[in-house]
């Protein structure tokens, strides 16, 4: 079903078409939509990272905001303390921060399954939220931290400031590479074990796989990619704020997965796009209360479209 192994020509053709469209997009789209597409790519990366847990391993994480947020704050730390601001250092700091948090969460929460796992990830993300929110001296508290955008640079060679278009390309490059990496991971023997955990955990354990260790690694990897998304978001928006550690963000990530189609990697990105489209659409009539209709649509999709948009489209195309 998910993560079809083997590589068909069809896949690479589709991949190239979509990639080409995304490369061209910022050159032809008006300012608002260009920004929109860049953001969807970032949220899409976050959604893909959580799909590794939700769709492939069968662990619904309600705590991805912690990894994403720590990625943001890690980037902020690098950009505020090191002169001149260095993009790559921001990435490294962000990944390290996310990895530390992910290791902590993974160690404890993988002891639990199903709902218990979800609740503990949720609670953990709230711990980090409270810490960040109240530790004003370090994190800026409620106001968060703002900083200047680092230039794109290759040490010793070039250093050029981002324009919205080049930033879009940078984000696209990172997200594409992450996608290919994640796709590789899910199709590797490691990814197969994760899927076998999802299908039947006791059997996987009985065959002799150290299930807990696999789960810990899965959470770690997932946290790293989520942290990377956080770095990108921080670089794009030039701030880190506690709102992004709050569990509402985690909830949105779950929504992306459900809407797009869990266990497909591409689906969650599509889901992120769909969610933001719905938000744009409904904001016109419902202003900031757009989550009323979106929540209803989400609930209906959980009930009647468990495969998500991608599953729905696939079935339609196969008919």
């Amino acid at each position: 079903m998910s993560g079809t192994p083997g590589t068909s020509h069809g896949f690479w053709i589709g991949f190239a078409v979509v990639l080409a469209a995304l490369v061209v997009a910022p050159l032809v789209l008006p300012e608002f939509w260009r920004r929109f597409v860049t953001e969807i790519l970032i949220w899409g990366l976050l959604a893909m990272s959580s799909d590794l847990l939700i769709g492939y391993t069968g662990m619904v994480s309600f705590g991805h905001s912690a990894f994403f947020g720590l990625g943001m704050y890690g980037a902020a730390a690098a950009l505020l303390t090191v002169r001149p601001p260095n993009l790559w250092l921001a990435v490294v700091y962000g990944l390290v921060a996310a990895a530390v948090v992910a290791a902590f969460v993974a160690y404890f929460s993988t002891r639990l399954r199903d709902i218990y796992f979800s609740i503990t990830t949720l609670v953990f993300s709230q711990i980090f939220y409270v810490v960040i929110f109240t530790w004003t001296e370090l994190t800026g508290g409620e106001n968060g931290l703002s900083f200047r955008q680092p230039p794109f640079g290759i040490p010793g060679l070039v250093s050029i400031a981002f324009t919205p278009v080049t930033l879009h390309w940078f984000v696209l490059g990172v997200v594409t590479m992450s996608y290919l990496l994640l796709r590789r991971i899910t199709q590797s023997p490691f990814g197969m074990v994760l899927q076998s955990i999802r299908e039947n955990e006791p059997r996987t354990r009985a065959i002799g796989y150290p299930v807990e260790r696999y789960k810990i690694v899965a959470v770690l990897l997932s946290g790293l990619f989520a942290g990377l998304a956080g770095v990108l978001y921080a670089v794009q928006n030039r701030f880190a704020a506690p709102d992004f550690v709050f569990f509402i963000v985690s909830g949105e990530v779950v929504i992306f997965n459900v809407m797009g189609g869990m266990g497909t990697l591409v689906g969650p990105v599509l889901g992120a796009g769909f969610f933001f489209m719905l938000r744009e659409m409904f904001s016109r009539y419902f202003t900031q209360y757009y989550l009323i209709p979106v929540g209803i649509i989400f609930t209906l999709m959980v009930m009647f479209l468990p495969q998500g948009l991608l599953g729905f489209l696939r079935r339609r195309l196969n008919q």
């Binding site: 069968g58 929460s109 709902i115 949720l122 609670v123 109240t134 209360y289 009323i292 009930m303």
Partner: protein
Amino acid sequence: MLAIPFEEFLVQTVNGLVSGMILALVASGLTLIFGIMDVVNFAHGDLLMLGAFVGSGVFLSTNNFWAALLVAVVVIAALGALLQLTTLRPLLGRDPLTTILATFGISLVIQNYALWQWGPSARKISEPIGGQFQLLYLQYPVYRIAIALLSAAIIGALWLFMKYGTYGIWIRATTQDRVMAAAMGIPVPAVHAAVFAIGAGMAAASGVLFAPLVGVTQTIGLDFTLRAFVVVVVGGMGNLGGSILASIFVSLLEAYASLFVSPAQAVIVSFVVLVLTLLFRPTGLFVPTPK
């Protein structure tokens, strides 16, 4: 470490017990629904909040707290039954995780509906029982003690109902063996709807009882939901007695912690308890060791 005067310690003990009883009321609704239907109701805190708003509406027009409490419980219980019938019943037999997702969707809708309907400013319900009494060095509101007692009374009534009432036996039988309960003629679908209604009603009751202390806003449920989740896990999922003990335990710890740190940070104490529980006793603190 600073020496804490004994009197402050005593006051915090009373505070901890009071908030522990409210938390226990919130958590027991959650536990009830989980124990019987394997459903983690993500919208529990939102039902609490909605109950508080309904209560404040009734209070505004009648100026009667008890009428507000009663109407809120009945309305939210009915809403709970409706939600169960429309969203959760069709999911019966599907992966239990889908119920989290569905109730999460409901939670989003309720939250934003409340914001849209009532706006962000807080509403006040005045205490039905005024007055203060001398507790050591400070004037302590009588109402806080009254809430604790009322919560205890509601939980006690639930316990008696579950233990001796016919419907209580139906509910427990359904919990243990849904199929056999049906074969005995117990209307299982109705039992499920009723349990959801009871859980929702208890959430509404906690919302209205708590409202005079903090005022009614959309976020009134949020803080409770997370702490209720914590005590439900710490107490052993689905174990009513366990989650009540865990509520009191965690609230006492938080109260003592607030002697040293700000209340916002004291919340972390309950999270630490959760982590330690998971580490050393993942089946829950207040359940007998499984054989």
